[in-house]
């Protein structure tokens, strides 16, 4: 079973690569075709993923609110989200008069493209990674901050006062919370000594960082979850779209497919932050290993690595979804207070602690 899995991903991918390079003489053309194939595979992965997350969100909400959630379309309501997507696609994509039409139509595209770019260095399973770039963590934090451009663009070009307020809020919010996210990522980079995603996963072969790294890593894990919830604009930090204050915030004027793209981006972002948290703190696809207990580790290896990765990711997604259905929303000044007065100083001190711990070798 283990052997089968190692065959499946890496060797199929390299087989296709070698076949393309050998059959097509022009190297540039071969690489372009390869990229298109990767892009199609990514889309084929993302759309069902968003269906699953949408369905999961509704079921979690139903579970927390003493109701069933969707249960009419398809078995256990599983096709409800498909029906909703069809509805969104069929709807007229309105562009308001007075809006900046170019930016208005560009904004949802930017949102989706940026979050798809971030997926590149994430290791979905053993040897299954689109692009194992050597500055993986830096790449992720750099590209994910581009999303704010999409939101600002949407808010500005909509020619709507609510949208503008929502966009301005999210600008301040995302820029602030980026710092805490970055600092908590750095704590793992310090411990690993590498920015490369595969190195970070491999460094957790004798135990995940959240276990090996004592309290400082747990602190940075908690900060990462809080700050990244804020960065992807999810409740209780959903000030950019604060329904009760700004109706729908920056995407008030969007309808149909353009709105669906914002929704798609929201769910992909949710998956990405959970995947990064799982990779950095919970070992990514690395099975649950304890030190040098060879027999135990070997038993754990029988569970496929993709299952480990998805299990951890969906565990964090479940936690973030519970936030949304539990907490009230923060006010805009409280949101910034939380970041600048609490999370950022704590992360700074924590970074020093992690550094000392790494130098002295106090971690397991």
């Amino acid at each position: 079973m283990n052997i089968l899995l190692t065959i499946s991903f890496s060797s199929i991918a390299s087989g296709i690569h070698h076949w393309l390079v050998s059959t097509i003489p022009n190297e540039l053309l071969a690489k372009s075709i390869e990229m298109v194939i990767v892009g199609i595979c990514l889309l084929l992965f993302l759309v069902p993923l968003c269906f699953i997350l949408g369905y999961m969100e509704r079921k979690v909400a139903g579970f927390m609110q003493m109701r069933y959630g969707p249960n009419r379309v398809g078995p256990y309501g599983s096709l409800q989200i498909v029906a909703d997507t069809v509805k969104l696609v069929m709807k007229e994509g309105l562009t308001p008069t007075g809006s900046d039409k170019f930016l208005f139509n560009l904004a949802p595209v930017i949102m989706v493209v940026t979050c798809m770019l971030v997926l590149a260095p994430i290791a979905f399973a053993k040897d299954f990674q689109i692009w194992d770039i050597n500055i993986g963590v830096l790449y992720v934090s750099a590209i994910s901050s581009l999303a704010v451009i999409g939101i600002l663009m949407a808010g500005w070009s909509s020619y709507n006062k609510y949208s503008l307020l929502g966009a301005m809020r999210s600008g301040a919010q995302i820029v602030s919370y980026e710092l805490s996210v970055g600092l908590s990522l750095i704590s793992i980079v310090i411990l690993t000594g590498s920015l490369k995603m595969s190195d970070i996963v491999m460094s957790q072969e004798t135990g995940w960082w959240i276990i090996r790294g004592h309290i400082p890593v747990i602190i940075s894990f908690v900060i990462f979850v809080i700050a990244s919830t804020a960065e992807i604009n999810r409740a209780p930090f959903d000030l950019a779209e604060a329904e009760q204050e700004l109706t729908a915030g920056f995407h008030t004027e969007y309808a149909g497919m353009k709105f669906a793209m914002f929704l798609l981006a929201e769910y992909i972002n949710l998956f990405i932050v959970s995947a990064i948290a799982a990779t950095l703190f919970l070992g990514g696809w690395m099975p649950f290993h304890i030190g040098h207990w060879e027999a135990f580790n070997h038993i754990m290896d029988f569970v496929p690595s993709s299952l480990w990765f998805l299990g951890k990711t969906f565990f964090i997604i479940f936690i973030i979804m519970q936030f949304r259905w539990t907490f009230p929303r923060l006010r805009v000044d409280q949101l910034l207070t939380l970041e600048w007065k609490y999370l950022l100083p704590i992360s700074m001190v924590n970074t020093i602690l992690v550094t000392v711990m790494a130098i002295m070798g106090w971690h397991f």
Binding site: A61, M64, Q65, M66, R67, K161, Y162, L165, R169, A235, P236, D238, L239, A242, E243, Q244, E245, L246, T247, R324, W325, T326, F327, P328, R329, L330, R331, V332, D333, Q334
Partner: protein, 373 residues
């Protein structure tokens, strides 16, 4: 210059937005014009009239038995208490009194109405501040109360159970047992309410030190009900001007101190407990007897002016009837609690953020059909 056609930014550099008439947090068709400086509120101007149905004028052509039913549509969450106010006012004019059994059932139903109304408010407060789940927990208990209403009154929301001289029919045989069950359920859930919202740090921060209303201002704006009591003004009509036997039950008037949103919130939370205790005192002691006093077929009030006030879930409702001796009132005027409470909104909200405006509105607990009538 038209109301909506003004420029986005005024000459002073203020940003003007229209919240409502269709907006998720105005709980109806309230239209607020808000002048903003960044996120800070400079001025709030409520515009009314989107749901004006001229209930007062309409009542002038209805008989004294019929005009009561229109009042269910004013403050629809306190429909029974509105009916009670009108029935009491007509009774005052006719110089009759409802039999003790009818009075007691009226009070029990009024307190159940208050409980249901406060529960809806509690759910909506959570919803306004972005917590969706409390809404469903609140509706669980509210639904149980509405089922009692349905069984006894035949309607869930607009009960129309009070008639001049008593109540329309006798209570359902299951009424007492069912009410006791519901009380037990509600009492066991108070802790859950506190766990979900009251004790939540985010919720406390959103409500504490927000939306101050001093006792003097509360009086001068004519605020009543939990809103004035949150500022420490003792104004419970049930205590000061008891009606329908409220003087015979033991209950405390809940008073807040600070006058901010959180103190208004706590007043309502404690009021729910007081309502439960009032119903508990009465539910097993309903006296036997008639449920309606004997009245003529056509009611005619003597010439004169009659005023009756009651405490609805939102404050003091006054019914003022001018009679010229005919079978329908010459003039009717309702002093609705929400209208006065809304008038304080501009004063409270100035200087706070947009998010605070939502919190303030939800603790004022506005019902727009009651403002417009």
């Amino acid at each position: 210059m038209s109301l909506l056609g003004e420029d986005i930014v005024t000459e002073e550099g203020e940003f003007v937005i229209n919240i409502g008439p269709q907006h998720p947090s105005t709980h109806g068709v309230l239209h607020l014009k808000v002048w903003l400086d960044g996120e800070t509120i400079k001025k709030v101007q409520p515009h009314l009239g989107y749901i004006h149905r001229s209930i007062e004028k309409m009542s002038e052509s209805l008989s004294y038995r019929n005009f009561i039913y229109a009042t269910s549509r004013m403050d629809y969450l306190s429909a029974h208490i509105n009916n009670q106010a009108c029935a009491l006012c007509v009774e005052k004019g006719l110089q009759i009194e409802a039999p003790p059994r009818a009075q007691m059932i009226r009070v029990i139903l009024a307190e159940l109405t208050r409980l249901a109304s406060h529960q809806l408010w509690w759910g909506c407060t959570g919803l306004d501040l972005g917590a969706v789940s409390p809404f469903f927990y609140a509706f669980r208990e509210r639904e149980a109360i509405l089922e009692i209403m349905e069984e006894t009154c035949g309607a869930r929301l607009t009960q129309n159970f009070c008639v001049p001289g008593g109540i329309m029919t006798d209570i359902h045989p299951n009424f007492q047992k069912r009410t006791n069950d519901v009380l037990k359920q509600i009492k066991s859930k108070f802790q859950e309410y506190d766990d979900v919202l009251t004790g939540n740090v985010i919720f406390e921060n959103r409500n504490k030190n927000v939306g101050f209303l001093s006792a003097e201002d509360a009086i001068s704006f004519g605020c009543t009900g939990p809103m004035a009591r949150g500022s420490g003004v003792s104004c419970d009509v049930r205590k000061w001007f008891p009606y329908d036997g409220y003087d015979k039950v033991q209950f405390d008037e809940v008073l807040g101190k600070e006058g901010d949103c959180f103190s208004r919130y706590m007043v309502r939370m404690h009021e729910m407990k007081q309502s439960v205790s009032i119903i508990e005192q009465l539910i097993d002691n309903i006296p036997e007897g008639d449920f309606q006093a004997k009245t003529k077929m056509v009611l005619k009030l003597p010439k004169g002016e009659f005023y009756q006030r009651v405490e609805t879930a939102r404050g003091e409702l006054g019914v003022f009837i001018v009679s010229d001796g005919a079978a329908s009132p010459y003039r009717i005027k309702y002093r609705s609690p929400n209208f006065s409470n809304l008038s304080a909104l501009d004063h409270i909200a100035r200087g706070y953020k947009i998010g605070d405006l939502v919190a303030i509105m939800s603790t004022i607990d506005l019902i727009i059909p009651d403002v417009d009538r």
